[in-house]
Amino acid sequence: MKLLITLLSLTFFSCNDHHHSSLKEKLHKLDQSMGGKGPVESEQILKDRLDDFSYQKSRWNKKNDFYVLERFDKFKIGKCQQCHDSSKKIPNSASNHKEVSLLHANKEVMNCKTCHNTKDTWNLHMLNNEKVSINHPYKLCSQCHFEQVEDWSHGAHGKRVGGWHGKRVIKNCTSCHNPHKPQFHNQMPKVTPNFLKYKR
């Protein structure tokens, strides 16, 4: 009886495995049958789709090829260097940045210096003091939100720009989430509903 159960469970699991792999295989075969090329890479189709964006190659994973939108030109107040120049000697303290309120994790866990480098204001820094450009903040985010960043790097989280095919350019974490206040806010729906109440 025990033998039978073992055999049955083995068959079950191997079936499962087989199903999983065959799904991929089948889709692969299908790709071949539908022209063999996979996606259509036509220059004409892609024309003018990415001209409006400035982007850089990601430094996330060498196997996973994608580009991220630049962040430098999105600063509302101005570039850090305008005030924090070595000649001007304006102290870089929290009291000089009252427009920023940090509502991200609790105060014991995070403060300004967790991400910002007080000496080199062009760059952020990781927990191990490794320098990170402001154009690549996902490396910083991944220190805690590694699951989200993994999803984002493959397209299950976040947004792509410039169309569904061709060069994959995606928005940075900080394009959508304010790093000082990452929670999405409440608001009224954009349109009035046009359907009857289905609630019973």
Partner: protein, 347 residues
């Protein structure tokens, strides 16, 4: 999932004409249709249609004689409009048109838009791309119910503003429930509300669409890239498809659709967002006028939370394929065997 895959295999073999009861009756006719287009068919067979064609020519000649006689009374645009409408009335179904016929009808429609609304629109008849099967994924953990997608859809697809027509239906759901019948599609308050989540539905572009075989005129069909489309000029407004669709995806024009002239989207497609008429069905087309040029649908582009993902499911490196293979996915009413190409997933 397995059924879907097996259906995908069939996808290649199926011809679009085989789904339509009208065109599948006579196989030889269908083949000729594909080869030579609608006009040649009309010429060949001596049946009711070719008789009507003869009538067209006669009446056309008569009309032109009349026009010459009354040229002082009728202005140029009105004459042109009458001639264009006359030709439009006798055109074939989009599926059996040759490339030239498609170009001609598109040109006529553009001209009619100029005469009727003083609006210069550009209507395309882009064919499906090779090696592409469109799929869509919706993240129910991320959607906040803001409705930016609905707003973008209305503007992109020139939907009737008077009746507030919307292709996308957004349900506010209680946690722990996944049947959309229990949701509330008429919510209007600050969102996201505590203890609620949001599911957006629209046309699922099924691999096995139940709305297609019920159409008595062959006015709706599935294109090679998986998009289910409607030829508005062949729709007679019987609403069988609306009754057949289990996802409430189809919308009916009870009155002439009204779109403010300055807000009309001029980038149009024959099977997509061109001006619809009173008494025809319409539905989401995955923004065919955008997606066949490589752009994302308007709802995907507008979503502020990134809950909507669109792509080619035949491309093994696409985002949508990653989601289907690696995330927890489900589809609505899978037990019906409609094989929708619209996956819901969660984090």
């Amino acid at each position: 999932m397995r059924n879907f895959i097996s259906n995908l295999f069939k996808h290649n073999k199926k011809t679009s004409s085989s789904q339509c009861p009208v065109f599948s009756q006579d196989k030889t006719t269908t083949r000729v249709d594909e080869e030579k287009g609608a006009k040649q068919i009309l010429d060949k067979k001596q049946n009711r249609r070719s008789f009507l064609k003869g009538m067209t020519a006669t009446a056309g000649a008569g009309a032109s004689l009349m026009a010459v006689g009354a040229s002082n009374l009728i202005d140029k645009d009105a004459k042109e409009k009458a001639a264009l409408k006359w030709e439009e009335f006798f055109k074939g179904n989009y599926r059996v048109m040759t490339e030239d016929e498609k170009k001609a009808t598109v040109k006529r429609l553009e001209e009619l838009s100029r005469i009727n609304n003083n609006q210069n629109v550009s209507i395309s008849a882009d064919a499906p791309l090779e090696g592409v099967l469109f799929g869509y994924a919706f993240n129910i953990s991320k959607c906040q119910g803001y409705g930016d997608c609905i707003e973008a859809c209305i503007e992109e697809n020139n939907l009737d503003r008077k009746s507030n027509m919307q292709y996308i239906k957004m349900f506010e759901m209680d946690h722990g429930k996944l049947n959309v019948e229990s949701g509330d599609a008429a919510y209007f308050h600050q969102v996201p509300k505590d203890d609620k989540f949001y599911i957006g539905t629209q046309c699922m572009h099924c691999e096995n669409p139940p709305c297609v075989p019920v159409c008595p005129t062959g006015a709706t069909w599935k294109e090679k890239d998986g998009i289910v489309v409607v030829d508005y000029d062949w729709c007679i407004g019987c609403r069988y498809c609306e009754a057949a669709c289990p996802y409430w995806a189809r919308r009916f024009n009870w009155a002439e659709p009204e779109v403010p002239k300055e807000k009309e989207n001029k980038n149009q497609h024959y099977l997509g967002n061109r001006k619809k008429m009173k008494g025809v069905m319409e539905k989401c087309t995955f923004c065919v006028q955008r997606t066949r040029k490589g752009q994302e649908p308007a709802c995907v582009e507008a979503c502020p939370t990134g809950a909507r993902v669109f792509g080619n499911i035949l491309d093994p490196n696409s985002e949508i394929r990653y989601i289907i293979e690696n995330k927890k996915v489900f589809r609505l009413k899978e037990e019906l065997g409609t094989e929708p190409k619209f996956w819901y997933y969660m984090d």
